[in-house]
């Protein structure tokens, strides 16, 4: 499993969490390292523009697009999910555009950033959440979130879960082998590890 290192934060936690649920993790900084991998994980926190710039500089943007276009197993975490949308209101960055919609600031949030444990309410059943209670708490740390385009007839099917802070926002997505979560499973205790184990099992079954 290739975990992409593009300088956007703590990789120790995601590496250790995936390893502890049975994944064989490689931290990768260049596209050649995707060869032989059976899944790509893009973690990260922070803003979109510097993240896209670093992915470009390392020659990773094209290979990630190609990986997603081939519908190969993928997990985006936090910023790694936001980058799948078309662009970000945070700094105007143009992002990968694999999901229809934009990354927007959380609306009517009583506190911002949204930091802490909050409930993930499922809108569609998916094996990623196997064995996890609907409404279980996961750890969030962000101010922006991807908003699936409402006119997209696919939007309802892509969304897996929503969370409320002020207004509600999409907190998990799934389309084919593409999965993304706005929260941090690697920092979400037992349920977080369970979600990552489910991901590892989905990859094995793929």
């Amino acid at each position: 499993m290739a975990v992409v290192d593009y300088g956007a934060g703590n990789l120790v936690s995601i590496d250790q969490a995936l390893t502890s649920v049975g994944a064989d993790v490689r931290i990768v900084r260049e596209a050649e390292a995707f060869r032989g991998a059976n899944a790509v994980v893009v973690p990260g926190v922070g803003a979109a523009a510097p993240a896209m710039a670093r992915l470009d500089r390392r020659g990773l943007t094209g290979p990630i697009r190609a990986w997603l276009a081939a519908d190969r197993p993928f997990l985006g975490v936090c910023l790694g999910l936001q980058l799948l949308f078309e662009g970000s209101d945070e700094d105007g960055a143009e992002t990968l555009g694999v999901l229809a919609g934009r990354t927007v600031q959380l609306e009517d949030a009583p506190t911002l950033p949204h930091i802490g444990w909050n409930q993930v309410e499922r809108t569609r059943e998916h094996p990623l959440f196997e064995g996890i209670d609907d409404g279980a708490d996961f750890y969030f740390v962000h101010s922006y979130a991807g908003a699936l385009a409402a006119i997209d007839p696919e939007a309802g099917r892509v969304e897996l879960a929503r969370t409320t802070h002020g207004r509600s926002f999409t907190s998990a997505v799934g389309r084919g082998s593409l999965l993304g979560v706005q929260f941090h499973p690697e920092r979400s205790g037992r349920d977080g590890l369970r979600l990552l184990r489910n991901f590892v099992e989905l990859v094995r079954a793929a």
Binding site: V12, S13, Q16, G46, P113, H114, I115, G116, D137
Partner: protein, 258 residues
Amino acid sequence: MLRRRVIPCLDVADGRVVKGTRFVDLVDEGDPPELAERYAREGADELVFLDITAAPQRRGTLLEIVERTARRAFIPLTVGGGVRTVIEMRDVLRAGADKVSLNTAAVADPTLIARCADRFGRQAVVVAIDALATGPAAWEVVVKGGRERTGLDAVAWARRAVELGAGELLVTSIDRDGTGAGFDTDLLRAITSAVRVPVIASGGAAGPDDFVAAVRDGGADAVLAASIFHRQIHAIADVKAAMAAAGLPVRLVPQAFA
């Protein structure tokens, strides 16, 4: 609904958890990663390491325990104490911390807050404010573990820190710290009313009722305590039960941590 967090704080010196009264008479309390894992199992929502290592050349020891902790406790970790530069912050994040708390160095050079927020995102930047009561509804920022006054008004500094890029504030009442007299809810209310970022209350916890008051009266998003958890005077579960009974949203302690 966003849960109100309960955060144990571990004082770390030379790679060991220590306890003492305001940095003196330190007693070795054990291995930080081991204690961190125990707190995670008992329902801690997050952890704070406060590095009080005297000798700067021992920083490598801190990075090593941050990494060992990140590999054992799957809950967020904030590291504070002695981070003075963007590079030092980078090293602590790389070792596995999620957030870094800036205190004395941010007062000395407020641009440090902006530089760290630009590089790592504001969600990774906690500004710790140690406040000393100087009159009715007046608090002054103190630094260097409370030994040095700055002349800065604590509420004005809180606003400034957020404008510069702080994503969270850790507010300690120096008057209450270590006294068990309860949190200074007036100080907390003054700051939570002035900023939109989450505020972590610190300094003065004696029992579960104090945690309730910090949230209900002080408007805090999270409550931090050290000695009452280390000395096992109160369990995290007891504190959360009291908060839940008062109608506050808390994350219930998992029955079995796999």
